[in-house]
């Protein structure tokens, strides 16, 4: 049985609810300096008029860093999260108590779709901290009175030990981590089928092919479920998969989806691939209208066997920009460029290469040697590399391998430089 009755509304009732909530949202945002002059409330009679509203982009959030888009006083705010920005500053999101309840609810829907109950134990191997992942999965579990093990990321050996000892029945994480964990389990002599009690896994934050998902399900002997989300909308929980297929039910009573042509902004039909745009219908602290996620997918309104009537999306299969996902962390090449421009030793002749290291992703930054950087002192060169690595870790939250390459080897190009090479297979 679905967690919320809104998951099974017939279409008129759903439309009515969405229209009502959209109008309430517009009342909330119309006073903000950002949206005030951009919207004409009288034009919006129902949810069907939504395309008359303007888009909101990551740049808008950046231009209003940190709290310029807030609709409620800080007094009401109970949580602040941040995620990858495109320059030196992160993207900031904030929640009041009501928003936190919505967030926990949509996660609880996802867990319920997979059959979890209060009897389950959830091994939460998603990163805790400023990112919305870890805590998002955590709060939703507590709502269902599921026992949460907040193991976060890293320390793989210890994770395997407690996974076995605590006999968790469900886990969260990225698909690449699931494979990495399985490989580590093998190396450390665990018997995957018998040592662990896992029945279900919730994976997301990075793209994965159907084949890869089936492989993970097979290796671990679990049901593979995907949870999709982004901080700017709420965090994980915007959509999740049920038992019927790999498509994800979008919680469209809270987050209204559209697919657009990323070049023209034209709204596309079901089945047509384009950029996912999401409007928050119930968020109070930081509502966003027609937020451009940058994720490429398709929508369908076909009936689902599970009985839920909410629209479904395919698992994200592309980006409309140059963002990379590295072990579940979003990385914008412009962030790297920002760090390099501040570093006095490095010129801007560089290339970012995304590689696979076993099952995990690895980011390598090739930097050209030049006359200014050149030195006879190897330790000095190594030190410069180490410092740059620390600066990048601080900005991106991931480790980047720095490699010095000889002069004039990195492609120069007119216009937008070909800065990124993604050597990973999808």
């Amino acid at each position: 049985m679905p967690y919320s009755h809104e998951e099974t509304l017939e279409s008129n009732a759903l439309k009515g609810l969405q229209s009502k909530r959209l109008k309430e949202t517009l009342q909330r945002v119309k006073k903000t300096p950002f949206y005030k002059d951009k919207i004409d409330i009288n034009q919006i009679k129902s949810i069907d008029d939504i395309s008359k509203l303007p888009f909101t982009t990551k740049k808008d959030l950046r231009d209003n860093y940190p709290f310029g888009l807030l609709c409620v006083p800080m007094d009401e705010i109970v949580r602040i999260h941040s995620s990858s920005g495109t320059t030196g500053k992160p993207t900031v999101v904030a929640y009041n108590e009501h928003d936190m309840n919505v967030w926990a609810e949509v996660i609880a829907r996802a867990y319920t779709m997979a059959g979890l109950t209060s009897k389950d134990i959830l091994h939460n191997a998603t990163g805790y901290g400023l990112f919305t992942g870890g805590l998002g999965f955590h709060d939703g579990a507590e709502l269902l009175k599921i026992a949460v093990v907040p193991s976060s990321t890293g320390f793989t050996s210890r994770q395997l030990m407690i996974l076995k000892d605590f006999q968790a029945t469900a886990m969260t994480g990225t698909p690449s981590f699931a494979l990495h964990l399985a490989e580590k389990a093998k190396v450390e002599g665990y018997d995957i089928k018998n040592d662990f009690a896992l029945k279900v896994g919730f994976f997301g934050a990075e793209p994965a092919s159907d084949g890869l998902k089936d492989e993970i399900a097979r290796i671990w002997g679990i049901d593979y479920h995907e949870i999709y989300g982004l901080s700017e909308i709420v965090g994980p929980g915007v959509a999740s998969s049920c038992k019927c297929s790999k498509l994800l039910h979008i919680n469209e009573d809270h987050f209204y989806p559209e697919i657009i042509n990323p070049q023209t902004g034209e709204v596309l039909n079901d089945g047509e691939a384009g950029e996912l745009v999401v409007t928050t219908l119930t968020k109070e602290a930081l509502p966003v209208l027609r937020y451009r996620t940058g994720d490429i997918t398709t929508l369908t309104h076909k009936k689902c066997e599970c009985g839920r009537t909410t629209a479904r999306m395919k698992s994200v299969f592309g980006r409309s920009d140059d963002m990379l996902v590295v072990n579940g962390v979003n990385v914008f090449p412009s962030q790297i460029e920002h760090v390099l421009s501040q570093n006095k030793h490095i010129t801007l002749n560089y290339q970012i290469i995304a590689k696979k290291k076993g099952y995990l992703d690895k980011l390598e930054l090739d930097v050209e040697m030049n006359q200014t950087l050149m030195s006879d002192d190897i330790s000095k060169l190594e030190k410069i590399k180490k410092e740059l690595q620390a600066e990048l870790l601080n900005a991106l939250y991931i480790n980047v391998d720095i490699k010095l390459v000889k002069p004039n080897t990195i492609e120069r190009s007119e216009g937008k430089a070909k800065r990124i090479k993604d050597e990973r297979m999808s």
Binding site: D377, I378, S379, E382, K383, K386
Partner: protein
């Protein structure tokens, strides 16, 4: 015909007098240094040396608390330095030998170039050079 020359690699902290301590130990053990190279790296140095009594040297260094590794390298005798060095590199590259490092030193009337290649490529490298009529010194040359 064995061409493997035992090169000792010793880890030195970047502290004053570490190199001196190393040379003193060898002197005390009456070990003659044929070739020596101290390479600087990030936070440590690596002394690579070819001595006349490598087992004795290893013992003495171990006892004094140094970390010693023995690597097989090979040496090529060269009368005229540049042209031949270039030719040697060509032979190695043609045979797809991965060269880790190289250094040269003076020995009586000759120059000797030392090469350290991937252990898996050692035989292939020495065979290829011998075939091209280079004089690869045999392993007992320095003893």
């Amino acid at each position: 015909m064995s061409y493997a020359i035992q090169q000792l690699s010793v880890f030195l902290e970047n502290k004053p007098n570490e190199l001196l301590a190393f040379t003193k130990i060898l002197k005390k053990a009456n070990v003659s240094i044929e070739a020596i190279q101290l390479v600087d790296s990030s936070d440590f140095g690596l002394v690579r040396s070819i001595v006349d009594k490598s087992e004795v040297a290893k013992e003495a260094l171990h006892e004094a608390g140094f970390s010693v590794k023995v690597t097989n390298v090979f040496g090529v005798k060269i009368a005229d330095k540049i042209g031949s060095f270039n030719k040697i590199l060509k032979v190695l590259a043609k045979n797809e030998i991965n060269l880790f490092y190289t250094y040269s030193f003076y020995e009586e009337k000759n120059g000797i170039f030392i090469f350290c290649v991937d252990a898996a490529d050692f035989e292939k490298a020495t065979n290829a050079l011998v075939k091209k009529e280079f004089e690869v010194v045999n392993s007992t040359y320095f003893q």
